[in-house]
């Protein structure tokens, strides 16, 4: 008689050991080499910006959840990641209050107004960055390296920079985006832990590389300069705001690559990574809808 008494429960029936906290912790660890490289190249400013940004994001999230009378879940680490990503994607000379303001607005407008983690259509860190760029255009484009103001490689011509400097990061730019080596380390770690889907960076970077060859540009330069690599690995891989299906992830990466190349080549802005990912974030629900996998047992002809 015992065997006939089945337990009925909705799916999922098999659970992974992974929790939100675990995944977030992996991303934080993956960001550490980037942060260390940033501190090596930009000094104390890197520590100042990332710490302030993270603190501001966490405190804002806690206040928002208190006000909305929801359980305070700042310990899951998602606000910490938003703060770290935003802190790493600004120029080293940005005033402290601006990064605090940017992180707070990123959490309020980019995340909590949509219902918190899992409800936000746009990557909060990129929302914060976009708001900072629109609000304070001149401090957000003041690039220095070794205390000297200079242009980022994207504003100059490709020939002026050696590949190894671009690769290790001894160039001007946002603090977290310059060292391709550190970013790749973090990316490999996330891939190893199963947090990063290789489809996203491969399709994003691949599209940019192919398009730059077609347009007669240097593909290696295009990939290594600007915040493309940083965004392709850490921001395009955000689980909440990108498609859930494998096919959808290819579409997302290709779309972002096309938009980025268009902005870089014909747009008035030197860099288009933020907007390319934000635009594809907006398209994500649609991509999910049209790449829905076939339900098992349906959609095939009998005897087929």
């Amino acid at each position: 008689m015992e065997e006939t008494r089945f337990k009925i429960s909705p799916s999922p029936h098999i659970r992974d050991e992974d929790s939100t906290q675990n995944i977030m912790l992996t991303v934080v660890v993956a960001l550490l080499p980037v942060w260390i490289a940033a501190t090596y190249f930009f000094g104390f400013d890197s520590i100042r910006l990332v710490v302030l940004s993270s603190l501001s994001a966490i405190i804002t999230e806690a206040i928002c959840q208190k006000l909305r009378k929801r359980p305070v879940t700042v310990w899951d680490g998602s606000a910490l990641i938003t703060g770290m990503l935003l802190g790493l994607s600004v120029p080293p000379t940005l005033p402290s209050w601006m990064i605090v303001f940017g992180a707070a607005v990123a959490i309020i407008v980019g995340k909590q107004l949509f219902g918190g983690l899992g409800g936000n259509p746009f990557n909060p860190a990129l929302v914060g960055r976009a708001i900072l760029v629109i609000s304070f255009p001149s401090p957000m484009s003041k690039w220095t390296i070794d205390g000297i103001t200079t242009a980022t490689p994207l504003m100059e011509s490709a020939g002026n920079f050696a590949y190894h400097e671009l690769f290790f990061g001894n160039i001007a730019g946002s603090i977290g985006e310059t060292s391709a080596f550190a970013i790749l380390l973090g990316g490999i770690f996330m891939y190893y832990r199963g947090v990063l889907d290789y489809r996203m960076p491969v399709s994003f970077l691949g599209t940019v590389a192919i398009l730059s060859i077609l347009l007669g540009q240097d593909p290696i330069f295009q990939i290594l300069s600007g915040s493309l690599l940083f965004a392709a690995i850490f921001m395009a891989s955000d689980l909440v705001t990108t498609p859930v299906t494998p096919k959808g992830r290819w579409i997302f990466g290709i779309g972002a690559g096309v938009i980025l190349t268009v902005i870089r080549t014909w747009g008035s802005l030197p860099e288009g990574v933020t907007y390319s990912i934000l635009l594809m974030n907006a398209a994500t629900p649609l991509i999910n809808r049209y790449t829905r996998p076939r339900i098992y047992g349906r959609g095939v002809k009998a005897n087929g």
Binding site: I131, I134, S135, F136
Partner: protein, 209 residues
């Protein structure tokens, strides 16, 4: 008398076209990047609204039901043309700032909405009070959005510096995203206060029963 009061007062808060009914949002978002723009757009819309509501209420029995919307549009367009020519002649700076949104008052939801929902059914006197209330509702709504955006976007209000010179203007507020964020925040605050008032009302009623 009681009718007149409630017809007038409802447009200011309870049925405020911008914050409660959320209609006529195009000009609300587009021309409120400073306080003067919001105020002049509010006054222009209110002017057309009051005159067209009065006129439509006067001629409502003459208009065949089937062609009433085109007839209203013709009436509204007449007043908009008057306003446009007047502004072009005497207030060229504001005329230039409002741009295309001035002629677009013709198709403003608020005006056609009041014509259809109120003026075409009610006596002239009540229509005037309704239009006055709605008109002042638009004016205070658009002006307050304009003030907030100008204050944070440039540190000024109506062109006068109010923020200390150390204040760094937040450029986003005068750009398009600032319009959406300000409007959303204002709607949230108004809704919150309305809910509080409604709750208090319900409690008061219970206590007296």
């Amino acid at each position: 008398m009681k009718h007149f009061y409630s017809d007038f007062i409802k447009g200011l808060w309870r049925e405020n076209p911008t914050f409660r009914l959320l209609i006529g949002l195009c000009p609300t978002l587009a021309v409120t990047n400073n306080a003067l723009g919001g105020f002049s757009m509010g006054v222009s819309t209110a002017f057309v609204l009051i005159l067209s509501s009065t006129m439509i209420s006067l001629v409502k029995h003459l208009i065949p039901d089937k062609v009433r919307i085109p007839a209203y549009i013709v009436l509204i367009a007449t007043f908009v043309t008057i306003l446009e020519l007047f502004m072009n002649a005497y207030l060229p700076a504001i005329y230039a700032q409002l741009g295309i949104f001035l002629p677009l008052i013709v198709v403003n939801c608020i005006i056609l909405g009041r014509a259809e929902a109120f003026a075409s059914k009610m006596p002239v006197s009540r229509s005037i009070f309704d239009a006055l209330g709605m008109g002042f509702g638009i004016i205070w709504a658009l002006t307050s959005i304009g003030i907030m955006r100008e204050l944070f976007g440039t540190g000024q209000v109506f062109g006068f510096q109010v923020m200390p010179s150390s204040f760094e203007p937040i450029g986003m507020m005068t750009a398009a995203p600032g319009a959406f964020i300000t409007l959303g925040t204002a709607v949230a605050i108004v809704t919150y206060i309305s809910d509080r008032i409604a709750k208090k009302h319900a409690k008061g009623k219970k206590a007296t029963e």
